[in-house]
């Protein structure tokens, strides 16, 4: 449908907000289930003798698993919409069914991976299974809802040529890629190895030595997500929100012309500059690592 500028901008703002929430919750869901790259450390720990109570979920990586739940949500929503359900109801039911299916995959992953670590004597804790899986389902429900809502808005209101399942799948893959790149670093480099000094990368010699004893009691995934919700989650939300917003903002404002492309390139250039500013700021604030600095002075 043809919309005037105010309405287009309002819809774009709504999409940006939904994307921010989806990004944040996706990262938190991958933290409460310990998915993707930091999970390689969780997988490694029993091998080094460090048994743990962390939910070892591995559904082939975040882009694929979030794509799975998004496309399922999109398909069920499309089915319900064709049965003349009210759009909001359809999206909610679709997201819920997709989240349940996702939960099933999560349980099989935890059970399967622990059952394949028999020789390291890693136990399968059923209480972890019981209270973490609903948390995973809940996080995933919100992600699905937001992504399918974005897909619905793009298909029905903005007139994109792809259907709801297709758009939901693409946003699912994107949110997974962004969550895996951004928020997982906060979980993997910071929270998982919090017993080390702040401000250095993970020394290869420390592989597998994840934190298993928490602030009070034994650490589990719910503790991890509590921490990552303070920075990792919101940063991921910013990533996806900026993506959804800025990929459509130039064409909404400047029409389908070369001007819009130019504005898009300008936005990207601004981000390059911002990255450089962060880099300089951090280098000046932290300084080089001590051993090398001494080496440099000796050489000079």
């Amino acid at each position: 449908m043809v919309l005037d500028l105010t309405m287009s901008m309002a819809i774009l703002a709504l999409m940006g907000a939904l994307a921010t929430i989806a990004g944040c919750l996706e990262d938190l869901e991958s933290d409460v289930g310990s998915q993707s790259n930091p999970n390689s450390q969780v997988q490694l720990a029993p091998q080094m003798g460090f048994l743990h109570r962390i939910y070892n979920k591995a559904i082939s990586g975040e882009p694929i698993s979030n794509g799975l739940s998004a496309v399922t949500g999109g398909t069920v929503t499309a089915v319900l919409l064709s049965a003349k359900f009210y759009p909001l109801t359809a999206i909610v039911i679709g997201a819920l069914i997709a989240a349940f299916i996702y939960g099933i995959y999560a349980t099989t992953s935890y059970a399967g991976r622990v059952a394949s670590q028999t020789r390291f004597k890693q136990p399968l804790y059923m209480d972890i299974m019981r209270y973490t899986t609903p948390s995973i389902i809940a996080h995933n429900f919100i992600v699905n809802f937001c992504l399918v809502a974005i897909a619905y808005i793009q298909y029905e209101i903005l007139g994109y040529p792809f259907t709801i399942p297709f758009l939901a799948l693409i946003w699912g893959i994107s949110v997974g890629a962004i969550g895996s790149s951004v928020g997982d670093v906060h979980y993997g480099a910071e929270r998982e190895f919090q017993n080390r000094e702040f401000g250095c990368g993970l020394n290869t010699a420390l592989s597998g030595r994840i934190v298993r004893k928490a602030e009070s009691g034994l650490r589990n995934s719910i503790d991890n997500v509590w921490f990552c919700a303070k920075f990792g989650g919101p940063a991921t939300g910013i990533g996806l929100g900026l993506t959804v917003f800025f990929s459509s903002w130039p064409t909404t404002l400047f029409g389908y012309t070369w001007n819009a492309i130019g504005v898009g390139v300008l936005i990207v250039a601004v981000m390059v500059v911002l990255n450089r500013l962060v880099e300089i700021n951090v280098k000046n604030a932290y300084g080089p690592y001590k051993e090398e600095k001494n080496e440099k002075e000796v050489k000079a």
Binding site: S40, V182, G188, G201, T204, G232, L242, S248, E279
Partner: protein, 242 residues
């Protein structure tokens, strides 16, 4: 024997080129794999396939939207729209990632493969923390990623453009041209994103990495051949020969 129409050859060649573009794009995007997610290696902490596919598919959305709204748009404009969408996604991702590395983990950015950043001239080796292969996203990696995203988005947009034009004239597919072209683009995208990830071995820092010059030729060649086959298949789907 079917008479070989020059437009068919052009289409097949364009599809082969776009597949190769996607393959080349994967080499530019700085990916560190699982170690980067633990600040043990430079680059983005995810897999090569996933990030390339994610950004390319966002490019596909923007390119298809541009084409749907402006059917008279030139091929270059559609490609540029695809490149823009892809670049925006990767820039946002890398920027948000930088924030985490800088303030969440507290590490300066450093590349393990070079002594001095070619674009800004800052020294890299003294900022590398002990026992790691660099961390974070120095400016050269960021710029390399942007270039890669542009190529990937353009490649995806090109396949979509060629196919949607081809299929909208087909008797068999006609009105569903966008859907079929979109699905086919996704298939070719994944095939062409996985081939370079096998060649690269999972991690690459960008165009300044010595690995770049080593693996790019054979990956690009493989991609060209495979995309040519996919191009032939695509053209025949539109035609319906037997």
């Amino acid at each position: 024997m079917v008479a070989i129409d020059p437009t068919i050859i052009t289409n097949i060649l364009l599809i082969a080129i776009s597949g190769t573009l996607i393959c080349i794009a994967v080499h530019f995007i700085p990916v560190g794999g699982a170690p980067a997610a633990m600040a043990q290696a430079t680059g983005i902490g995810t897999g090569t396939v996933e990030l390339a596919a994610g950004s390319g598919l966002v490019g596909l959305i923007t390119a298809s939207y541009m084409y749907a709204n402006e059917p008279t748009a030139s091929m270059v404009l559609v490609l540029a729209a695809g490149a823009m969408g892809s670049m925006v996604m990767l820039a946002s991702t890398m920027f948000a990632g930088s924030l985490i590395y800088a303030f969440g983990v507290g590490v300066p950015f450093a590349s393990a493969q070079i002594k001095k950043d070619p674009i800004t001239g800052t020294r890299q080796d003294i900022y590398m923390s002990k026992g790691t292969q660099g961390q974070g996203l120095p400016t050269v990696c960021f710029v390399s990623g942007i270039i890669g995203a542009a190529l990937g988005g353009a490649g995806g947009g090109l396949i979509y453009y060629v196919l949607v034009k081809l299929y909208s004239q087909s008797v068999l597919i006609g009105p569903s041209a966008a859907a079929v072209a979109g699905v086919f683009t996704m298939g070719v995208f994944y095939v062409n994103a996985v081939i370079p990830s096998y060649g690269v071995g999972g991690t690459i820092e960008g165009f300044h990495d010595p690995k770049f010059r080593r693996v790019l030729p054979k990956d690009a060649f493989t991609s060209f051949v495979v995309s040519m086959i996919c191009g032939v298949v695509a053209v025949m789907i539109g035609g319906g020969l037997i």
